[in-house]
Amino acid sequence: AQSVTQPDARVTVSEGASLQLRCKYSYFGTPYLFWYVQYPRQGLQLLLKYYPGDPVVQGVNGFEAEFSKSNSSFHLRKASVHWSDWAVYFCAVRTGFASALTFGSGTKVIPCLP
C-alpha cells in the first residue's frame, strides 16, 4: 500500500535562512505528489504538485520541490524563509481511488528565536 513519511515533526529555522523539508514516499508505479501548507485554524492550501516530467517543480511563494525516483523522495525547499512561512507542511501522494490522497504526518516549521 502507498505511504508517505515525513521524518521531521518540527523544523526550526531563522527568517532569511534556507529551508528543506523531507518527504519519502512508497508507491507502486509512477506517483503523483503534492505539498500542502496549513496555517493555524485553516484548511490546507496547495503549494505545488508533481506529475511525471521535470523532476524539479516550482510552487507558490518561492517554494520548489525535487522528485527522485531512485530515493523515493520529494523534498521541499525554499531559499529564504519569510515569517509568513511558519506553518505546518504536508506531503501527499495520490492513490488510485478517486484520486484520494495519502498524507504524511506533517512537519511544523517554527522560528528560531535569538
Binding site: L44, Q45, F90, A98, S105
Partner: protein, 114 residues
C-alpha cells in the same frame, strides 16, 4: 473563485449522540472526500464519493457513514459519537485524473465529543 465550505465550524457533542457534518462545494467537481486530522497522523481518509448517490469507504470508515445527495453536497454522519471521534474534520473536492487531480479543502470542523 471556487470554494469548499463546511458547517458547523465547531461542534460539541455528547457520547452516543448523532452528529452530522456538512460540506458544500462550488467547484463542480465529481469527487468529494472526508478526512480527519489528528496530531501525529496527518490527514486520514474516512469516506469519499465519485458523484451524486455514490459513497465509498476510505482507510478509516468504522463509526462513520456518508451521504452524497447531490453534486454539491457531501455529509459525514456519526450515528453514535464516541470520544475517540474528537478531531478536526476536513472536506475536499477534486477530479480524478490528470492536471485537475489536485484537491481543494474546506476550512475544517472541530468536533469535540464529551
Amino acid at each position: 473563485e471556487a470554494a469548499v465550505t463546511q458547517s458547523p465550524r465547531n461542534k460539541v457533542a455528547v457520547t452516543g449522540g448523532k452528529v452530522t457534518l456538512s460540506c458544500n462545494q462550488t467547484n463542480n467537481h465529481n469527487n468529494m472526500y472526508w478526512y480527519r486530522q489528528d496530531t501525529g497522523h496527518g490527514l486520514r481518509l474516512i469516506h469519499y464519493s465519485y458523484g451524486a448517490g455514490s459513497t465509498e469507504k476510505g482507510d478509516i470508515p468504522d463509526g462513520y457513514k456518508a451521504s452524497r445527495p447531490s453534486q454539491e453536497n457531501f455529509s459525514l454522519i456519526l450515528e453514535l459519537a464516541t470520544p475517540s471521534q474528537t478531531s478536526v474534520y476536513f472536506c475536499a473536492s477534486g477530479e480524478t485524473w490528470g492536471v485537475y487531480a489536485e484537491q481543494f479543502f474546506g476550512p475544517g470542523t472541530r468536533l469535540t465529543v464529551l
